[in-house]
Amino acid sequence: MPPKGSKKGSASAPKQTLVLDNGAYTLKAGLVPSTSANPSYDNCSVIPNCIARSARDKRTYVASELSNCKDFGELVFRRPVEKGFIVNWEAQKAIWEHEFLEASAGEGLRCNPKETNLLLTEKPNCPKELQKNCDEIVFEQFEFAAYYRCVGPTLNAWNTSSPSSLPQECLLIIDTSYSDTTILPVYSGQLLQSAVKRLNVGGKLLTNYLKELSSLRHYNMLEETYLLNEIKEAVSYVAPSTQQFCIDLERTWKGRLGDKRTLDSSIVLDYVLPDYEHSSHGYARPHDPAKSRMRRGLQPQQGPREDLLPLGNERFAVPELLFNPTDIGIQEAGLPEAIMQSLNSLPEALKVTMLANVLVIGGNSLIPGFMERLESELRTLVPAEYLLNISRADDPIKHTWLGAARFASHPDLLKHVLVKKTEYDENGSAWLARKFAGGGAK
């Protein structure tokens, strides 16, 4: 039961809203004034949503403190968000306190929750018990003055070209993020729940897959999640087509015993691993077979030691999982077919309009070749007479935050969805859950 005895006289609405897109990998956060300013990407801070511990310097890094870290070797991560949902409140609370409440808060993020609204995003299909935990912590532990929780990607409907208090009519959001890739048809800012689809492939799986492959083929790198994520971001690309995938696979094959082939150095790279003494970050360069042989114990007598990780088919076979999850046995259709699964459950008129308004967000969409492959494969699945209009947000990581911030800077829109702490104290969390049910800002 929530505690009674909330103070009277707090009738005036807070003048600012903490807009928080609480991702599994990063928080996207910013304070937005309740007066109609026009928020931009610049108002959004991206903060690692983790607590990291280094066995080497015995330091614990909370969220933004990670930027002080120089040695990422064997860094262990604790993430409060699992599969996109806030699961561990001990860790999430510590991170929120560190980033929004205490002196450690970043510029323009520190606030007093009692004088601040919270607009918090969540992933679709969140288990109700986790929603309840979240609502109770927001009001009972943090004591925000007022609060609204909704499915984050739906707020992209407010990213219209001109500042407007009307959401975009029809929008098909493809959110390819750390935890997974979700497909969300949104009508007037409201999620069409029955057509939401979730593909079990996200940035986390891709990083772990690259880690597994590299550890099998070259070094044991199973403790090097940070590094493998960095390598993934540096070298991955999506093959333009299934045919090109096959060609690139040939070009990067070593051949058989007695029939050795030369690796195609236009694809195969050597990643120079950081040593965490002279360098905190590595870099990629074209594959050099001679240097690669040196790697195997023939280090130069003088000069800096170089550790090289050769990357061939890993570069494109890893992100290929977004298009062919069955490649590693995940029995789900690839992204283009998954999008059609979602749309085919809608009336034809809606399907047509959704296809003309496809917006891609999330970090995986930045992998070179991703958009081209998605568009060309989707085109083959869409009836020829239908318009297909697909684009990636200018900043696919901050775009949901921006939509949320634009929504939050309309006082009249916000007023209708916010729930005040006094209301929560009076009615409790089951009432609040019903109030937030429905999953979209409208």
């Binding site: 599969k83 001990e90 299909n125 029955s194 058989r256 995940i330 029995q331």
Partner: protein, 245 residues
């Protein structure tokens, strides 16, 4: 939960051990038997059945995917820095102290749904349930002033949005009642939101060498993994064979 497919059996008379099969679409007649390994198999005492093999493969794939999808390593716990604020209510304390992982919450959700389906709902309860959905929705979605259309109000004679009348020159226009019904659907459970497997009739599943990532045309009969040739066969045997089972 990942969906895992039981691979069709490649052979009905396979001895265990290091048998590799050129995979040509699961044709049992293409099975090659390595006589050297037959001795090893005999030493171990009798062949395994195919169903065992498939179950093992299934387990192996599921374990591997679960490992790739994991968010946190339960073996490596990082203590929270001590300056963290104290819980303000007993309820908050309880939530903050939960050490459960996402799979526990999802299992709970599934168990509750299964319970709802098993137990025949009393009529009254059922009616109440149906009744609450639209109510909850209308509460959750108040139309802001100045917002275009009261989607859920269904005013008679209301015009369909012009965008649709232009776009819908091919398909029939959007039916208002149908749209309202669609907007009133409650969220799916997490498990129900997963993408379905690829449609039958699409391209066949691709198989890759477990060691180097090239095409895996040869199948390890012991664990079901694929390799590209002899060199990778050796590497597979000394590293990953049976790792996930």
């Amino acid at each position: 939960m990942p969906h895992v497919e039981v691979l069709p059996n490649a052979t009905s008379a396979a001895a265990p051990g290091w048998h590799y099969v050129v995979d040509t679409g699961f044709d049992p007649s293409k099975v090659a038997i390595n006589p050297k390994d037959r001795k090893r198999a005999a030493a171990r005492g009798g062949p395994r059945t195919d169903n065992e093999l498939s179950a093992r493969q299934q387990t192996a794939i599921a374990r591997r995917i679960a490992e790739l999808e994991r968010d946190n390593d339960p073996k490596q716990s990082i203590p929270i820095p001590s300056k963290s604020g104290i819980p303000k209510t007993p309820n908050a304390r309880k939530i903050i102290q939960y050490q459960r992982q996402i799979k526990h919450w999802l299992d709970d959700e599934e168990a509750q749904l299964a319970l709802l389906q098993q137990v025949p709902q009393p009529r009254a309860a059922h009616l109440r349930r149906v009744g609450t959905i639209p109510q909850a929705l209308s509460e959750a979605t108040p139309a802001p002033p100045g917002s275009a259309t009261p989607i859920l109000s269904g005013t008679p004679g209301e015009q369909i949005d012009p965008m649709f009348s232009i776009e819908s020159s091919m398909p029939p226009p959007l039916d208002k009642a149908e749209l309202e019904a669609l907007l009133a659907v409650p969220p799916l459970s997490f498990a129900a939101s997963h993408v379905a497997p690829p449609a039958p009739g699409g391209p066949p599943q691709r198989h890759f060498c477990d060691n180097c990532g090239y095409w895996g045309n040869i199948k390890c009969l012991k664990c079901g993994a694929r390799v590209c040739g002899l060199e990778c066969k050796d590497a597979h045997e000394s590293t990953r064979c049976l790792k996930w089972t």
